[in-house]
Point group: C2
Chain length 324, copies 2
């Protein structure tokens, strides 16, 4: 939520001159993005977003992220599209940082999503899964099953600072997930972080998806499980089955789930809750008190996880009827 790297007027003007975008008209740092520095840049060709990648982003992954956004945009998914410079490159440097210029996407995220929003997000996620087919680069999911235990071990000795029984809960759940994690589900490119702040709407119309910086290759149904966690719980941590139904039906309108994907959903949802529980717990224990961004409460994911532990079938998330 901050401008970590200041860009000067002369260096930005010469940066913009390396693109076919006309003259630089204005630029303003925006208070968005936890990891990176972002500017709104106006040129005579329109508005763009300039992103400077800060240290927390692996530079080696940038061709994957930028290539994916370009691939998705070419395949009907509305998202910020990287602009190529005069040398045909979509990745450049400014102010000592890797940087990319992408098209400006109108829309804004919805603080109180309704079932109608969830239905639109379900459709968009399925379109993303289909649109990602044929993308040539791969990136493994660093925050998938294999990454959870090492991440937990980085704060295991301090888990009790969050809640007395948290260590036992995580250890038992990790053991269960490692024993039972579904294998061989249809895989492909997943967003892996499709939370409400990464989906833009204009009124009730979904205008596009943003923030592909967790995207990777993994089971497509795991992405659905992330979204069920992200979109379908109320502030009191109760699961809203109307939203779950809307989301899953929206998804299946575009890409029907197989019987195995349906069966796996409660387990995948447990795994997705574990993934956000672990990163939130780590951030909770490791964010300096005076940081610009306050860490989010990990216990919200303990409550989601407990809900999923009691779920026996995808019907409890709102999807009835036979798999197609």
């Amino acid at each position: 939520m901050a401008v970590y790297t200041e860009v000067g007027d002369e260096e930005l003007a010469s940066f913009i001159a390396s693109y076919d975008l006309g003259d630089l008209l204005s630029f303003k740092g925006i208070a968005e993005g936890v990891e990176n520095t972002n500017y709104i840049v106006h040129t005579s060709k329109g508005p763009f977003i300039l992103t400077l990648y800060e240290r927390r982003v692996e530079a080696a992954d940038l061709p994957f992220y930028l290539g994916l956004m370009e691939h998705l945009a070419e395949h009907g998914v509305t998202c910020p599209t990287p602009v190529r410079d005069a040398h045909g490159k979509n990745l450049s440097r400014i102010s000592g940082r890797p940087a990319a210029l992408v098209t400006f996407l109108e829309g804004f995220w919805v603080r109180r999503p309704t079932a109608a929003h969830c239905a639109a997000v379900g459709r968009a996620l399925a379109e993303l899964h289909l649109g990602g087919e044929g993308f040539g680069l791969r990136r493994s999911n660093a925050l998938g099953l294999a990454g959870w235990r090492p991440l937990y071990e980085r704060f295991a000795d301090r888990a009790g600072e969050i809640a007395p029984d948290l260590a036992r809960l995580i250890e038992e759940e990790l053991a269960f997930l490692q024993e039972n994690w579904p294998q061989g589900l249809p895989d492909g490119v997943i967003h892996a972080d499709l939370f409400p702040d990464n989906v833009f709407f204009i009124g009730d119309r979904l205008s596009g998806l943003i923030d592909f910086y967790f995207a990777c290759n993994d089971a497509l149904a795991y992405d659905i499980a992330v979204s069920l966690n992200a979109w379908c719980f109320e502030k009191d941590m109760s699961f809203n089955i109307t939203k779950g139904q809307a989301f899953l039906r929206g998804y299946e309108d575009v890409r029907p789930l197989s019987a195995r994907e349906r069966e796996a959903m409660p387990l995948l949802a447990r795994g997705a809750a574990m993934r956000f529980l672990l990163t939130r717990a780590y951030d909770w224990l490791n964010t300096p008190k005076d940081a610009l961004v306050s860490p989010k409460n990990p216990m919200e994911y303990v409550r989601r996880l407990r809900f999923h532990q009691g779920v026996r079938s995808i019907a409890e998330y709102g999807l009835n009827g036979m798999a197609k």
Copy 2:
């Protein structure tokens, strides 16, 4: 440099609906403005800036600032122009704060101004002084002569933390200024803070002036003195007479100075240096270490002040020849 107040999507959509600006398309908090929260807002009618006035701005002064921007825009000064809502009001409220929507001004501030930039700023300042004629509201200069001693007294006992001889310098200079301050100069609306970050350019063309939140009624020539301090010193604190000449000639192309204004310039420049020395010294001593905005070094104004103390006539700022 921060978003102090978060605005939600639903409240902003209903706020925008009270204007004749079409639909809300997007909004992003921007990292600009030390005192206020600013958002870039796109509607179907174009881009706008939404400003939420935080506690440091006197709400009673807002009609002056907004009325002035409107008056200036009507009189040929390019600046952000307040938009009136369906009830004809240019001041509203959102998220518990007074708020105004103004037009988006293209351009960006120049980090390394040249003499050509200074000439353009001189012209623009004179145009602002002429454009302000006939504006019906008044606001006295809270940071003018009468305000300096009370401000100094708020940190006098700690001035030695900045430099051992600072208290003596300020006390002697304040006594001198109070004794000798020029009276009866032509007055009117002044910007009072026309620093490089408040003047936008596109290339070499000045595209407009921003940030009228120190504007007030005072001697017009005092505003010139502020600008000589703000625009014509190099990083090593040497005065660049080429820039001074360009600025003053640019100003006089639009509004020639009277003989009395010319004579008063060295004194006014001392006063302007004192004003920024005092506010910077106060901020230096009173900004928490973990604040988002780092305080600027007050000693830069001690060095400017010492320069002005040695100036005997406006010729040393670059203006030769007879007054018109």
